[in-house]
């Protein structure tokens, strides 16, 4: 079973599979996620791809327990996610950092999950080193550049050594340099054994990072295939059009 307050208790075998069954999310009468069923078992990078409004963020939010299904289920290894779970972290497109030092931002996250204070220095130093922020540890978080802020955002997730990291369009607001460093970080995270699920509308990014692709369009799952198959022989007309750079019409 999952433990919410210990950070090393769960191996990835425990977090996966992610099982989504007949998931519906409706708001104001609009079906924003419409009957999604899928299973993710592989411990690498899954990219949720699709145009704006496809339901990518909503699916990620549901996977972190920030949204509740109107119908159907989403479970990590038979467990319904709650935002308090320390084994899983969520990265927003635009980070909201606290008005305190980089280090204090990381201490805050550890304190939220009741981590023993004697472990703070080693956990924080490791996260800072991984994200290249060691030199900026005492700097105020709010004065960092956009790219540095997003790296701190990722450090804030990483410091808990989560089994799963969910990222919602993590580079949408960054320049090419910032994007490259975040993509590099995401690859490192995956290589070290953390399951990554991220959304993007950027085909190039999906191509560079994805092991498998969930292609959403208008709240429906159009394709779930390996990245190789998706880019070489997309099964659906919608995906073919998307890859070809055509505007997608409503059904």
């Amino acid at each position: 079973m999952l433990h919410t307050n210990t950070i090393t208790s769960m191996s990835n075998i425990d977090a996966l599979p992610l099982q989504v069954n007949n998931l519906h999310i409706t708001k104001n009468g609009n079906a924003l996620l419409n009957d999604l069923t899928l299973t993710i078992e592989s411990n690498d990078i899954t990219v949720i791809l699709g145009p704006n409004g496809a339901g990518k963020s909503l699916l990620l939010r549901t996977a972190h327990g920030l949204e509740l299904p109107n119908q159907g289920t989403l479970r990590w290894n038979a467990t319904t996610p709650k935002p308090q779970n320390a084994w899983r972290a969520y990265i927003f497109q635009k980070p909201v950092l606290l008005r305190r030092s980089v280090r204090a931002n990381l201490e805050y996250v550890l304190s939220l999950h009741g981590i023993d204070k004697t472990n703070y220095p080693s956990l924080i130093d490791a996260a800072l080193e991984h994200t290249g922020l060691s030199q900026l540890a005492e700097r105020n978080a709010r004065v960092l550049s956009g790219g540095e802020q997003q790296r701190l955002n990722i450090a804030r997730a990483w410091v808990l050594k989560p089994n799963v990291i969910l990222l919602d369009e993590p580079t949408a607001e960054l320049d090419p340099n910032g994007t490259a460093s975040i993509e590099h970080l995401i690859k490192t995270i995956a290589q070290e054994g953390t399951k990554v699920v991220m959304s993007t509308h950027d085909l190039g990014q999906a191509h560079r990072l994805a092991n498998d692709i969930l292609f959403l369009h208008q709240g429906k799952l159009v394709e779930h295939t390996s990245a190789k198959v998706f880019f070489e022989k997309p099964q659906s007309q919608t995906a073919q059009n998307f890859i070809a750079g055509k505007l997608l019409n409503g059904d």
Binding site: L66, P83, V96, L98, L112, N140, R142
Partner: protein, 238 residues
């Protein structure tokens, strides 16, 4: 017109005389003014900051009514507050046995009643605004409601200081409440505002104006000290 200008120039020279001679009676009055109002601000902040934050973040039955009352109480007439506190503390009142009427403590109680709504209402608005930015992020990080409240209070500390100072300004400047519950007793409960009222009534306009000038100067000094401290801290953090 000439007469008024003359009054003012004489009042300024009187004010400087009083200050430079460190008039002991004046120092006593200034000291009590500051002690009463600063203590009141401290207590009102201890109550008002968490109260305002809780009203912003927790939903409960009757919250709308509490918020409406709080906003209405921001403009409470000091004399009415003084009168109510007077009735509570008078011999026959429910807290009469404490013997607090006509003491600085009674003045502090009255000022706390006056300014707690101001601090709480301004805190509520500040926290509401900040919550729009922080809520999703803190929730995704796994923060529970009580922790969110503490975090938001700390994150908005520079803005909250403005509300606390609005409270201080009202406390140090009001005369109605402290006059009724304090009684303006020389060497006991006389503060700047009650002394000004007294000297005006006695006809010593010059002294009254001099005291008024000093009162304004003190408010300016206290406010600028805190604002520059706030500015320095803000620079450090942003």
């Amino acid at each position: 017109m000439v007469l008024v200008l003359n009054d003012f120039s004489q009042a300024f020279s009187k004010a400087f005389q009083l200050i430079f001679h460190l008039d002991p009676a004046l120092l006593e009055i200034i000291g009590l003014s500051l002690r009463v109002s600063m203590t009141a601000v401290l207590i009102a902040s201890i109550i008002g900051l968490p109260l305002g934050a809780a009203l912003a973040l927790y939903k409960f039955y009757g919250r709308g009514l509490v918020v409406a009352l709080l906003n209405a109480f921001m403009g409470l007439p000091p004399v009415v507050v003084g009168l109510v506190v007077y009735l509570m503390l008078s011999r026959s009142g429910p807290f009469g046995v404490l013997g607090l009427l006509f003491t600085p403590t009674a003045m502090i109680i009255a000022q706390v009643c006056l300014i707690t709504p101001i601090i709480a209402a301004l805190t509520r608005q500040t926290i509401l605004d900040a919550n729009v930015e922080y809520y999703e992020q803190l929730r995704a990080l796994g923060a529970k409601a009580s922790r969110m409240m503490k975090t938001l209070l700390w994150e908005t500390r520079f803005s909250l200081l403005t509300g606390v100072f609005a409270g201080f300004g009202r406390a140090i400047a009001e005369v109605g409440a402290v006059l009724i519950v304090g009684g303006n007793i020389n060497h006991a409960t006389r503060v700047m505002t009650t002394a000004i009222a007294l000297e005006t009534r006695k006809g010593d306009i010059e002294l009254a104006l001099a005291l008024g000038i000093i009162l304004i100067a003190i408010s300016l000094i206290v406010t600028s000290i805190v604002m520059s401290a706030r500015h320095a801290a803000y620079q450090h953090h942003n």
